[in-house]
Symmetry: C2
Subunit: 340 residues, 2 copies
Amino acid sequence: MVTVKKVAELANVSPSTVSRVINGAENVNPEIRERVKKVISETGYFPNNAARSLVNRKTGAIAVLIRNLHKPFFYDLLRGMKDAATAMHKCVLFCNLSDEKEERNKYMQFLTNGIVDSMILYGTLYTDWPIIENLSSSRFPFILIENNFDNSQFNQILINNFDGAMNAVRFLAENGHERIVLFMGNPNKKVNLERLNGYQRAMTECGFTLTPDNIVNIFGDSSQAFDAAQAIMRMPDEKRPTAIFTTSDKIAVQAIKGILSLGFRVPEDISVMTFDSQSHLEEEYKGPTLTGIKQPLYDVGYESISAISEIMDGKIKPPYSRTYETTIQKGETVRNLNEG
Amino acid sequence: MVTVKKVAELANVSPSTVSRVINGAENVNPEIRERVKKVISETGYFPNNAARSLVNRKTGAIAVLIRNLHKPFFYDLLRGMKDAATAMHKCVLFCNLSDEKEERNKYMQFLTNGIVDSMILYGTLYTDWPIIENLSSSRFPFILIENNFDNSQFNQILINNFDGAMNAVRFLAENGHERIVLFMGNPNKKVNLERLNGYQRAMTECGFTLTPDNIVNIFGDSSQAFDAAQAIMRMPDEKRPTAIFTTSDKIAVQAIKGILSLGFRVPEDISVMTFDSQSHLEEEYKGPTLTGIKQPLYDVGYESISAISEIMDGKIKPPYSRTYETTIQKGETVRNLNEG
DNA sequence: CTGTTAGCGCTTTCAG
DNA sequence: CTGAAAGCGCTAACAG
């Protein structure tokens, strides 16, 4: 293995000088600098990060921790992160975590001790609190994206789920819908609660009836949505909701499958509006293109990398917080009741 | 920061003893072991990987390098890798690379110098040769998945593209097809050449006509497939191929869109068979479910992690090579001409 | 079974 | 502008 020492010998200088050349220090005689550079390129020398990390206490690399990294949901997020990594000249290491506590700890301990010096965590759960607290108390820099906590001390990037959900209901209202039911996913995720709140607020604001029946819990398998949608279609016409708003694409897809399975059509017989509106769905789906609230995940991904870089460079001083607004993505699953 | 030294002080032992406890050495007095463990958990001490890596020359982590990691194509591959990582208790770091040489070098140099001690590279191109040679000459352990080289010295996992393509043609032949055209992607990828060869061999074997017209080059944008498919549909019935075999899902999807755009149907008017047959397509597609040759990407992903682990543990001695067979995945895009 | 010592490869004072 | 020396945190001989 080629080391500074060997390069130094070959160039007839001291290791310190080699180090200076590597790190682009000014105070080196140009002639010597060239001599050292020549030896470096001839020997193919490259500095050992472990040794560097040990003395500098930094590596310049960023870790991104995501549960189920492989899901198509992350398509845009990963693209954004990748583009930012290229732009900022950073090494970004993606880790695909499971829910298992032990495994999560393993990665945290590995990464935070000399491998990377900052971290991005997507979609933390309540159970991640010990990890977050640990990072925080050891002053390890990190950014949370869509986290479950409510702590302004953390660097975080959020999505305005509340307004997004409100806009969904308003959009449905504009299209003449009043009987709007919510298919709500896992309440242990803060994002779902926010979407629920937005839904409720907008329903009230629009003066629509809001009873417990308006909210259908899809807390377990998303296939519950299939059954729930069928149940709705079996209701008499005059009582049946005219629109279903779902907290995720997955639930929307299942609901639509349930509706179609009974011979009904979307949006002719009932409208469906989703939250997420991702370009890449996890399940096979050939129904009408979803209308829904779209999150700017490419931007969020890009911003997360560039923000953490700037925090590390001292250009941003923490706590950093930014909230992204959603947009309405028009597809084919919402019918305008005002027409015809 | 808590170090071995501090733990040693607090436990009234030497750093060596602490090190022994951490690394689970046998020769430590049980009483002292407990005392040290207690201090470790009280102080929240965790060993610094940079320092460890420096001494041990290994970290136990594995890097996975993939171009366009975000593509849904990698869904099953990543799942397999993740499951294997959990099973083998390894940290796996995924890197999303671009084609830019400089960026690729940056990652290589970062990773190979004290961060990970083995590597998996998916789908290397000819231009990656310097990188591979470098890894090889520095004796850095790595496995290639579907590489572009032909070197039995490398550890590698391959897919039997040749037989896969042959099986596709045979399957079409069994279904009564004789005029089968190939839509072939980028010839700079070895996998495509192998699929081409398999196609040619099987066509010859079946005694079917094989002229240059049988092979349509889709070397640029896959949208060329759209036009090419339209051109085929405009041919007179008696000359028109009865089936198109494509070297990728992307090409198949475009071809089918081209066919449908002219008002023709798949498979009634023409059959389409693909290679890849992934569960997750990158583009929106609502046509009939693809019939095609499926690669066992989950298994490949799982095996890559477990094989490199076993190589590192000395349980497998390199060069390691394994070829996976493909299967036929039946969808809706191939019509049986023997019926009716 | 335990402690002392040296050194992994690098950077960074501090002298010169 | 350059070199010598010390040390980052850890482990692996080697004594004891």
